[in-house]
């Protein structure tokens, strides 16, 4: 339970940090995050 609360707090802090970034940086980060799921398969191409 404690671990879940810590993870939730860290996620919330990261999300707030993301929200206060300039629009341009938010776009850069969002583009990277949207492709994280593909990195492992792409490594094997």
């Amino acid at each position: 339970m404690k671990a879940l609360i810590i993870v939730a707090i860290v996620t919330a802090v990261l999300f707030l940090l993301y929200l206060v970034q300039p629009k341009s940086r938010r776009r850069f980060i969002a583009n990277l995050l949207s492709q994280v799921k593909y990195l492992v398969p792409r490594y094997f191409t």
Binding site: S24, Y38, R42, Y43, F44, T45
Partner: protein
């Protein structure tokens, strides 16, 4: 005995350079090209006495191309008739301000001082930083394979100075430039350069912020048209016995026991070889020519996840007057924020407005012999155009788009244009796909953001098919004439190492 030692698919710069290097190694090389001319995006066609460049209109990083020629005992400057281009470019900013950046760093500093005195120091700091990065990175980054994590670790181990510049890799092009320049006009003058690598300033990785600086190391035009550069590679290769067959499309790559056997042409002819170098789009090559049956599921998933790079519609204008421009390259720019908004509001939503930004490449400025006497050619590199237009097609819209762009240019950057057009042709992403067989008209094959780069881009030495190697824009280090030439050197090195 096999018909050839090596078959190269695609006679773009990457294919011809790798073919020539492999012929220089003493191998029997055959280059197969689907179209009627060499060069791919760096090529030139002739129409009604005008020699028109298809895409590339200048060469940056000439030293990288020269390294390739040097490996064959000659030099870029001996093999290709090059015309130096100076200034690097002029820009007509959205508010009408004109800026011109000469090759000289000091003169460029003075020009920046004219429009933004507060950014002169920023230009000096930027130049120093990027020079340091290029000194450390150029050969290490461009000429080292990045097929896997070990390669990337070795790359940084060999070039530890690169670590000093790690911030460039994890920020955006825009982020890097904003660190050095505060004036929006200066930023605007560099805003279109991000599309030289295929993405808007907010999405392009920060190390590409080297592009505006790198132009000051010298840029060139190839006399007679940009096809002179691939023809230079072809000439060197043919001296070593390399053969080039035009109008010869490949249908399948033959594989036996996970090893290259050769290729099957579209007319059914089989040609055998132990090694194939693919210089075409690797997503298409693996999924259509190799076939999914030869790929493990993880590789298939990775290949299908790749996004093709942007396409760039081109408007070719042949004119019977001297256009009111000063320089080989004139950039029609938008403020950086608007360039980003264009990507998200137009490109991503499938629209292509008539009010354009991009590059006016006045090629007859550098080589008047490209057109009949007194006539001129401008190749207009337009804003990125998405392959699938919303609710319509490029073929349906082509004429209307062409007319609206000509009207717009006539009203803005090229007064008098409408009355002096001898020939005007719009090449859409669909036309590029038909002409070059490049899926979706992608000019850099695959996107060039971090999740499509280095070890996340298809490996130069295939992990799944022995004897299959990649050159060109869809492997490390990516798209652009110097970079695909570098990929050819990497492929030739890998073949020398692994295919005795």
């Amino acid at each position: 005995m096999k018909d050839y030692d090596v078959i190269v698919i695609g006679a773009g710069c990457g294919g011809l350079a790798s073919g020539a290097l492999l012929a220089h190694q003493g191998r029997r090389v055959l280059v197969l090209e689907q179209s009627e001319r060499v060069g791919g995006c760096c090529s030139t066609f002739e129409q009604q006495g005008y020699r028109i460049d298809i895409g590339a209109s200048i060469i940056e990083f000439p030293q990288v191309i020269d390294w390739c020629f040097q490996r064959m005992g000659t030099s870029f400057y001996d093999e290709v008739d090059l015309v130096p281009v100076d200034p690097t470019f002029s820009a007509i900013l959205n508010d009408g301000t004109r800026v011109t950046y000469p090759i000289s760093l000091e003169e460029t500093a003075r020009e920046i001082g004219r429009i933004a005195p507060e950014d002169v120091k920023g230009w000096e700091r930027y130049s120093k930083k990027i020079k340091g990065f290029l000194d450390a990175a150029l050969d290490g980054f461009f000429l080292s394979p990045a097929n896997n994590l070990t390669d990337v670790i070795k790359l940084f181990a060999r070039t530890p100075a690169l670590l000093k510049y790690n911030s460039l890799f994890f920020g955006s092009y825009e982020g890097v430039l904003r660190k050095y320049f505060k004036n929006e006009k200066v930023l605007e003058s560099f805003s279109f350069h991000s599309f030289y690598a295929g993405l808007p300033p907010s999405l392009l990785p920060g190390h590409f912020a080297m592009i505006p600086y790198a132009e000051h190391a010298g840029i060139y035009y190839s006399k007679g048209g940009m096809i002179g550069i691939p023809e230079g590679f072809r000439k060197c290769g043919e001296k070593e016995g390399m053969q080039v067959r035009l109008n010869t499309p490949v249908k399948k790559i033959m594989i036996e026991n996970k090893r290259i056997k050769g290729v099957i042409l579209e007319d059914g002819t089989e040609i055998t070889a132990d090694i194939v170098v693919s210089n075409i789009n690797s997503k298409k090559m693996y999924l259509e020519m190799v076939g999914e049956e030869h790929l493990p599921w993880l590789a298939k998933a990775g290949l299908k996840s790749y996004t093709y790079s942007m396409a760039t519609p081109m408007l070719y204008l042949c004119l019977d007057y001297e256009p009111p421009l000063n320089d080989h390259h004139t950039l029609m720019t938008l403020p950086m924020e608007k360039v980003n908004d264009y990507w998200f509001e137009h490109y991503m939503k499938g629209s292509f407005p008539g009010e354009q930004f991009g590059i006016l490449s006045w090629t007859t400025r550098s080589d008047p012999s490209l057109a009949p006497e007194g006539h001129h050619i401008i190749a207009v590199t337009l804003a990125p155009g998405v392959y699938n237009l919303e609710g319509t097609t490029w073929d349906n819209e082509k004429n209307a788009i062409k007319e609206s762009i000509i009207k717009y240019l006539s009203k803005t950057y090229l007064p008098g244009l409408e009355e002096h057009i001898v020939l005007a042709e719009l090449s859409t992403p669909v036309d590029f796909e038909r002409r070059l067989r490049s899926p979706e008209g992608a000019i850099y094959a695959l996107r060039q953001d971090l999740p499509h780069s280095m070890m996340f881009r298809p490996s130069a030495r295939s992990r799944h098919v022995k004897g299959l190697y990649l050159a060109g824009a869809s492997t490390h280090p990516g798209g652009g004439v110097p970079t695909v030439t570098a990929s050819a050197m990497i492929a030739a090195d890998l073949i020398e190492k692994y295919e005795k």
